[in-house]
């Protein structure tokens, strides 16, 4: 995985509110293998804004974003790839399933091959314990079921990099643990890198290869979960981890 980020913006119009959290993020993840990065921080620290900027939904004011050998954004060179051109996956915080499509149609929306859609859809329904719900419409599902469908929708096209914004928040604890392991195994198996926002440190420890600690729109610390927990660089980081 190779992701180099150096982006800055303040006061721009955000996606769901009039203003996005001001952000100044600089980090670099270079590793021979796919990685799972956990983004950790208080509410309002800019985690979602960072994911939206990486996905191409928010255009930063300055800086650059490189993924593998592709430049996704560079204000100096006037490069800004659209979300479609970035070939990434994004699960929104409150998940957005298309209300006019069935569960199966939602899961397979991003698949280009029509022939394998039914098969792939059934596979994801089984993987996320939702067998038999393929013909239901989203409004018939519980919050937890909808979140699982949205997760399946994001992962099914197998993008090389996925951003998951609190992917398990609507699930009960036993299901959270079960899916956390299932998603981790699947990502490793498919060789897909991910940046995941989580709220429980133990989940972050379990799934994350690396931790990015965010506070007030900045990356406060970056390292393996062990490194970060053993040696927090500031009281602020220690306080965030303490929560």
């Amino acid at each position: 995985m190779k992701l180099q980020v150096d982006i800055h913006f303040s006061g721009e119009i955000g996606l769901f509110s009039s203003k996005a959290t001001p952000l100044s993020a600089r980090f670099s993840i270079v590793h021979a293998n796919p990685r799972i990065i956990v983004l950790f921080g208080h509410s309002g620290s800019g985690k979602s804004s960072l994911l939206h900027a990486l996905a191409g939904i928010i255009r930063p004011k300055n800086g650059s974003i490189w993924h593998e050998e592709s430049c996704l954004f560079d204000d100096q060179k006037a490069i800004f790839l659209s979300p479609r051109e970035r070939a990434i996956g994004l699960l929104f915080q409150n998940y957005s399933l298309f209300p006019h499509l069935t569960v199966l149609q939602n899961i397979t929306y991003g698949l280009s091959q029509k022939s394998s859609q039914q098969e792939t859809g059934d596979l994801w329904l089984k993987r996320f314990l939702l067998e038999g719900r393929g013909s239901d419409y989203p409004h018939r599902l519980s919050g937890g079921e909808r979140q699982r469908i949205a997760l399946a929708q994001t992962l099914a096209p197998k993008p090389s990099l996925v951003f998951l914004d609190e992917p398990f928040s609507a699930l009960d604890r036993p299901l959270q643990k079960r899916l956390l392991i299932a998603v981790k195994e699947w990502l490793h198996q498919e060789g897909i890198s991910a940046i995941i926002i989580l709220h429980h440190l133990r989940d972050a420890m379990q799934i994350g290869d690396e931790l990015l600690i965010m506070g007030k729109g900045q990356i406060l610390q970056h390292g393996t979960p062990d490194e970060v927990i053993r040696h927090p660089v500031s009281n602020e980081v220690a306080e965030i981890l303490g929560e």
Partner: protein, 224 residues
């Protein structure tokens, strides 16, 4: 009741409504999603027929479509007939006059769609055109129905523009509202009251249908 005028009015409305829907789709898309700083100029232009006296619009259309104008001459050379005082002229006039009744409900419907659906569609690899047909249009069906019904109802009730550019030619440009005016001029109050009552009931039914659709009518995913 002048059935010839009724059929002509109905024909006009049934051609104008789908045509206008097609014209209104890209304009509404632009109004709903464009970030151009001059977007308000387009919005103002589209809404102009709402406040402009129909005779003003009719007058300018008369000038533009008349045989002395380049467009009027071009049309005459092409078809051998004049555009003014013809059904086709009436059709063009109706398209302009009813434009806001199609664009406003459609652009509102487009604008009310949760933006996350549009981003999600793009992130999942769909182009803007695919997103338009697979997400925006299905989620805007109420807006489209409202636009269609309003356009039909408004075209049926047109008077000023029709009179200015269509005149009063039986079977060609004499619509129900013109026929009503004629009957009053001829002091035929019995005939006039029938036509007026018909137009009143028709308009009321159409408007009620919009409210019915908005309150009660559910399709596909909403009823499942």
């Amino acid at each position: 009741m002048n059935w010839e005028a009724f059929l002509l009015t109905l024909k006009l409305a049934l051609i104008v409504a789908p045509l206008l829907l097609l014209i209104a789709l890209p304009i509404s898309y632009f109004i709903a999603y464009s970030s151009k700083s001059w977007k308000w100029l387009v919005e103002g232009m589209v809404s102009l027929p709402l406040v402009l006296p129909p005779t003003v619009l009719g007058f300018y259309l008369l000038i533009v479509m008349g045989s002395k104008s380049p467009t009027g001459r071009f049309y005459e050379q092409l078809t051998g007939n004049g555009l003014v005082f013809s059904f086709n002229g009436l059709l063009i006039g109706s398209l302009f006059y009813s434009l806001p009744f199609a664009v406003i409900p459609l652009s509102n419907a487009f604008g009310n769609i949760d933006r996350r659906f549009l981003y999600q569609s793009q992130i999942l690899g769909k182009s803007s055109l695919e997103t338009f047909f697979r997400v925006i249009l299905p989620l805007s069906y109420r807006g489209m129905l409202t636009a269609l019904i309003l356009t039909v109802a408004h075209t049926i009730g047109e008077f000023g523009v029709v009179l200015m550019i269509g005149g009063n030619i039986p079977g060609e440009t004499r619509t129900l509202s013109i026929d009503l005016f004629d009957q009053v001029q001829a002091l035929n109050y019995n005939g006039a009251s029938q036509t007026a009552a018909f137009l009143l009931c028709f308009s009321y039914l159409f408007l009620s249908l919009i409210y019915f659709i908005n309150h009660k009518c559910k399709i596909g995913y909403e009823t499942h």
